[in-house]
C-alpha cells in the first residue's frame, strides 16, 4: 500500500520559490500499477524520486506499507530502498566499470548477500530478461534495449515490493520500447510488485491500472 499525502516540493531559484510539486495526493494498493504522465517540467521525475526516497518532500508524507519514508534515518532509508524498491531510469544508469552480471549483483551485495549467492540470483534473472549470454559484457558493449533490460534485471533481482521506472522506454526504438514495457508488466504481474512508471506514451499509460496526469506540479487528472 502506497499513500502519497499532500506532497509538495519547492525549489528556490534567484530568491523565488518554485513549486515542482504542489499538494499531490493519491493511494495505490500492493501489486497495482500507475503511470505518471505530463509534459516536460510537470514534476513527474520529482514525484518518482520522492516516492523512492531519493529526495525529501518540502511538505507532506510518502507512506509505504505503513512507514513514513520521511521519518527514516539515513541508514534506515538506504536499507528500505535496498530491500523494497527497484529503480529503472531512462538512461539505464548502469555502472560502467562493472560487467552486466556484476551490475545485477549489486543490490544483493549491498544487502549483504554472499558473492556466490548473488551470482546465482543474477544468472537466474539474466535468463529471465534473455541476457544470459551477455553476462560478462560491459554496459558500453550492449545495445540500448539490452542495456535497459539489464537495468530492469538489476531493479528486480532482489524482488522489490515497489518498482519505480522513470521513462524506461523513452530512449528506445519502438520494438525495444515495446519489449521493455512488456517485461515490466510481466514482472508487475508475476512478482506482485507495485509498478509506478513515468511515461510520455499514452499507449503504455493506458495499459496500466491507474494514470496520474501532472501539470506544473499539480495533479490535473487521476483515474
Amino acid at each position: 500500500m502506497i499513500e502519497v499525502k499532500k506532497v509538495s516540493k519547492i525549489f528556490t531559484h534567484a530568491q523565488k520559490e518554485i513549486y515542482a510539486l504542489n499538494d499531490v495526493s493519491f493511494q495505490l494498493s500492493s501489486g497495482d500499477s500507475l503511470a505518471i504522465c505530463g509534459g516536460s517540467g510537470a514534476g513527474k521525475s520529482t514525484l518518482l524520486n520522492l516516492i523512492g526516497g531519493l529526495d525529501q518532500p518540502s511538505s507532506g508524507q510518502v507512506i509505504i506499507n505503513g512507514k513514513d519514508t520521511g521519518a527514516f534515518k539515513e541508514k534506515e532509508e538506504a536499507q528500505f530502498r535496498n530491500e523494497n524498491l527497484g529503480f529503472v531510469f531512462q538512461f539505464h544508469h548502469l555502472l560502467q566499470d562493472f560487467s552486466i552480471e556484476e551490475n545485477i549483483m549489486m543490490p544483493l551485495l549491498i544487502k549483504g548477500t554472499s558473492k556466490k549467492q548473488a551470482k546465482e540470483s543474477a544468472q537466474t534473472i539474466l535468463n529471465q530478461v534473455s541476457l544470459e549470454k551477455m553476462y560478462d559484457r560491459f554496459p558500453r558493449e550492449l545495445s540500448g534495449g539490452e542495456q535497459q533490460r539489464a537495468a530492469i534485471a538489476r531493479a528486480i533481482v532482489h524482488k522489490p515490493k515497489l518498482l519505480l521506472a522513470d521513462e524506461p522506454t523513452g530512449n528506445l526504438d519502438d520494438e525495444n520500447a515495446h519489449h521493455v514495457f512488456e517485461l515490466l508488466c510481466e514482472l508487475n504481474h508475476d512478482l506482485r510488485a507495485t509498478l509506478i512508471m513515468v511515461t510520455h506514451s499514452q499507449t503504455y499509460a493506458k495499459k496500466l491500472n491507474h494514470i496520474i496526469e501532472l501539470n506544473a506540479g499539480v495533479v490535473a487528472n487521476y483515474h
Partner: protein, 398 residues
Amino acid sequence: MTLMKFLIKRYLFTYSEKNLRAWIIVLSSLGIFIASCLVLISLGVLSGYQRVYKEAILGFSSHLIIYNEVGLTPIQMQETETYLAQKENDFAFSPYHFYEALAPGKKGPKPIIFKGIDPQKKSAVYPMQFQNLTKGMANQVFVGADLIKEQPEIKTHGILKYLVASKEGETIKTSIGQVPVQGTFNSGYYDFDSRFVLMPMSLLTKLFLKAPQVSGYEIRLHNLNDLERIKTELKEKFFYAHDVLTWDELNESLLTALMLEKTVVFAIAFLVLMIACLNIFGFNFLFFAGRKKDFMILSALGMANKHLRHLLALMSFILGGVAVLVGSIVALLVLTWLKQEPGIPMDPTIYYVNKIPVFFEYSWFFLFFAGALILCYLTSVMAGKVLLKRYLTANLAD
C-alpha cells in the same frame, strides 16, 4: 566488507581505458611518496649531523668543566683536586690548559691550540680514537688526525712544527719550533681534528709557560643522567671561586643552531607531506566529479551515504598508505646507502664532516608510517563528508 573490497578493487586497480582518473591516482600517490621520502631523509640527515656533533663534542670536551677565568692558583688546584678525587665513583677528571699558537700549513700559517691534560686520565676523560704513529715517540702528544693534511711530516717523521714568536728589542722574530708526536686522535669533528694538539701538562708548561698553569678541570661522568646533580654539587662547593658549565652550555650556539635547523627543515618537510595529503582532497573531488552518477546509482540501489563516505575514505587511505609505505621503504634504502662508505663526500673545511652524516632508528619509520596513515585517513574522511553533503539526486539530472 566484501562489497567495499569489490568496489575499491574495481575503481582503483582496473584500468580498462587510459583516462584522467589513472593520472590523478598516480600523481596524488607520487606527491605523498615524494613527501614521505623527503621527511624521513631530512630527519635522518639532520639527526646524523646532530649526533656527529654531539659525539665529537662529548668525545673531545667532556661533560662538565669547572674553571676560573684567570686560572687556578696552586692552593685552589690542590683544594679542587682533593675534592674531585673523592668523587671518582661519579666521574673521571683531568686538569686542562690551552695555549694558542700558529703552525705552518699548506696555505700559510694556521692557528692551532695546544691543550695540556693529565695523560694518565686521557682514556677516561676523552674517549676518542687514539692511534700511534709508526715513527711516533712515546711522549703522550697526540695531534688531531686532520692536522696531518696540513703537515704531512707529522706522519713521515713524527714531528709537529709550530711557529714561535720572540721579542728582541723592538722587533718580533719568528722561528719554527718542533715537538715529537706519539700519535693522532680522531673526534670525527673537523674543527677539533684540524686544530688541536693534546699533550701532558708538564710538557705544555715546559714548552710555552713560565710556571705551571691550570685553567680548570674537565669532568667525564660515568652516567650522563647525573649531570645536573653533579653540576649543582660543584657549584655549591666552589661558588666563591669557580664557574661550572655543562657540555651543552659550552656549545649552546652550535646545538641551538642545529636544533633550529632540524626543527625548521622537519616543519617544512611535514608541511610538504600535509600538502601531499591534501592532494587526496583533490583526488576525491575529481574522482567524485567523474563518478557522481555511480554514487547516485549506488545510493538508489540502497547503499547508505555512510558507506559511500567509507568507500571514498578507504580508497584515499589505500592510496595514501601505499604511497607512504613505498616512500618510507625508499627513504630507508637511501639512508642505509648514505650510512655506508663512501656515502656522499663533503668538504670538511666547510661542513666539519667528511661525508653526509646519517642517523636513524627503525622505530621512526613505524611511527611516521602510523602518523602519516592517520593524516591520510583524516583528510579522506573530511573529503568524503564534504563531497557527500550534496544530495545525490542532483547528479541524476546531469
